[in-house]
């Protein structure tokens, strides 16, 4: 007894030292594993890649639009569904006539308000016929996409055209699957993967009421 009384301080110190040196309970970092990010999330290409040339591909062969339409005339107005081009579903609001946009005589061009031709590679002039305010905003850059350089004097600017984002036959911008959400310290889910049931000191700011996301 007297031995313990006189030696308990050095013994406790030694025991503590042993624990520290041997490290029997290894430290497990509460940091979550990195979330894999899909490649499309950092891809800068526009949602559509139209060819901007009047070409049509059937069974592996590429035709100019005029190749067929020179010999096969289409009716001036049509209410029935198309027999050719059945993949096109015209869903453009009030604009339900093919020849509102396509030139009635030269199928390799679009048509403007005066019946003149608009080249296939300048669709913005066609869209501007009806969408005046948006065309104005696009010209000044507050609508639409720009890639490359903000300073045109230092490098090329790639101004995206209407149909690189909008399908002319179904114009509303589509919906998307969102890229993975945040797993950051204060924004992430309350418990990181692999740490279920452990109190996470780095996440004390997360709301305890929110349900535990187990993924």
């Amino acid at each position: 007894m007297s031995f313990l009384r006189s030696f308990w301080v050095p013994l406790a110190l030694l025991a503590g030292a042993l624990v520290l040196v041997l490290d029997p309970v290894p430290f497990v970092s509460p940091v979550a594993h990195p979330v894999p990010v899909p490649d499309w999330a950092t891809n800068t290409n526009p949602v559509r890649q139209p060819k901007l040339v009047p070409q049509y591909v059937v069974a592996g062969f590429t035709y100019q639009c005029s190749d067929c339409h020179r010999i096969i005339p289409s009716p001036r107005e049509t209410q029935r569904r198309l027999t050719q081009h059945t993949e096109i579903e015209l869903n453009h609001g009030l604009n339900t006539r093919c020849f509102n946009c396509h030139h009635p005589r030269n199928r390799d061009a679009f048509v403007d308000d005066f019946g003149e031709e608009i080249p296939w590679n300048q669709p913005q002039r066609l869209c501007g016929k009806c969408h005046g305010p948006v065309y104005r905003d696009w010209e000044h850059g507050s609508h639409g996409r720009l890639n490359g350089y903000w300073d045109a004097g230092r490098g090329p600017q790639l101004k995206r055209r209407c149909i690189e984002c909008h399908d002319p036959h179904h114009p509303p911008f589509g919906s998307m699957t969102p890229a993975p959400g945040p797993d950051t310290l204060r924004m992430g889910p309350p418990l990181p993967p692999g740490h279920e049931g452990r109190r996470d000191p780095l996440r004390i700011y997360s709301t305890p009421a929110s349900p535990v996301a187990s993924h």
Binding site: L14, A17, H143
Partner: protein, 341 residues
């Protein structure tokens, strides 16, 4: 340690105080040994120190960014290049592009077009070399109820697919590069400051990690490296700049810099280039022909938390008529088709 034999009587010890008793010697020796062992154990975490964990003399004596001469700056850039090469195995380009004359950067974000796809968040991460684990992201995309702008109840964690949801709207928030930045005012060591082109930057080698700026920012735009940032070598963007995307160390703040390594050489920021909807606009507001100049002049613009007086260079705007992604165009089209022309 202890002796089994009975020591001499206590009276003998008192009688001969100058001599060391066997018991006293053992007690003091054991205590000293235990103390030494405890000291060694307390220092034992030093075993885990790796090369590069402690600053070299050169790093320790490095001057503040603004006080460096051109040769000193070049030497620091070469040192950073060498450190990154050693750590990640890729040889980066480390630059220090200066602010451009007659340029003040401004960001515009069209909230009537944003669909909340979060591509900007991940393009920013890929460009700016923040830590992947724990995750650090500069851009937060808030999902809010239509008709409200309550950032307190906004949701970061939406994962409903697809976006946009018809009854929600989305507002990305990142550093607003304020003209009156509270984060700069509170820094006790002047490790963060506003550049002439309007970008608030951080000297990561000068930051002491007190996180005052994080607390001061009303937009929650600053991030702290709680641990050593983890980046896979193949994820590292090798085009580095001293004030923006060079790899950070543990214990320093970081933030959006409008991608100054890109924008100061004329390129667009990474978050803008990736935006599929074209909601993001960037440019020199001092140039009357720039996109952002047009937006500020003709569009309806608002700033977030205008009442705190930070004068942000980040403007939200919207169109006369918002995006119609939620409108049932199909029904309209068929109805008019039936009426005939």
């Amino acid at each position: 340690m202890a002796t089994p034999q009975n020591p001499p009587g206590a009276g003998g010890d008192v009688a001969r105080p100058a001599e060391v008793s066997r018991r006293g010697f053992l007690t003091q020796g054991a205590a000293a040994a235990a103390g030494l062992a405890a000291l060694a154990a307390a220092l034992s975490p030093l075993r885990h120190l790796k090369e590069g964990d402690l600053p070299t003399a050169e790093e320790f004596l490095q001057k503040h960014y603004k006080e460096m001469s051109a040769t000193e700056r070049a030497r620091v850039l070469a040192r950073i290049q060498e450190q990154v090469r050693k750590r990640y195995g890729v040889t980066p380009q480390v630059n220090d592009p200066p602010p451009l004359d007659g340029v003040e950067f401004v960001y515009g974000l069209n909230i009537s077009r944003c669909i909340g796809c979060r591509k900007c968040v991940h393009a920013c991460v890929a460009e700016n070399n923040p830590s992947r684990a724990p995750e650090i992201q500069y851009i937060r995309v808030l999902e809010m109820e239509k008709g409200s702008i309550d950032v307190e109840t906004a949701n970061h964690r939406y994962d409903a697919s697809p976006v946009p949801r018809p009854d929600k709207w989305y507002m990305p928030v990142q550093c607003h590069q304020c003209a009156n930045p509270p984060c700069v005012k509170v820094c006790p060591v002047e490790a963060t400051w506003q550049e002439p082109d309007g970008i608030t930057v951080i000297d990561y080698d000068w930051c002491i990690g007190c996180r005052y700026c994080e607390a001061a920012c009303p937009y929650w735009a600053r991030r702290f490296n709680f641990t050593e940032p983890q980046i896979q070598p193949d994820q590292l963007n090798p085009h580095l700049a001293y004030l923006s995307n060079r790899p950070r160390q543990k214990g320093v703040m970081e933030k959006c810099t409008f991608c100054l390594h890109r924008t100061r050489v004329g390129r667009l920021p990474a978050c803008l280039e990736v935006c599929p909807t074209g909601s993001r606009k960037f440019g020199n507001v001092l140039d009357p022909s720039s996109e952002v100049h047009y937006i500020l002049k003709y569009k309806r613009v608002f700033i977030l938390k205008a009442d705190v007086g930070t004068m942000p260079r980040f403007f939200y705007y919207f169109d006369e008529r918002g995006s119609r992604y939620h409108d049932p165009l199909e029904g309209e089209g068929q109805a008019t088709l039936g009426e005939g022309a």
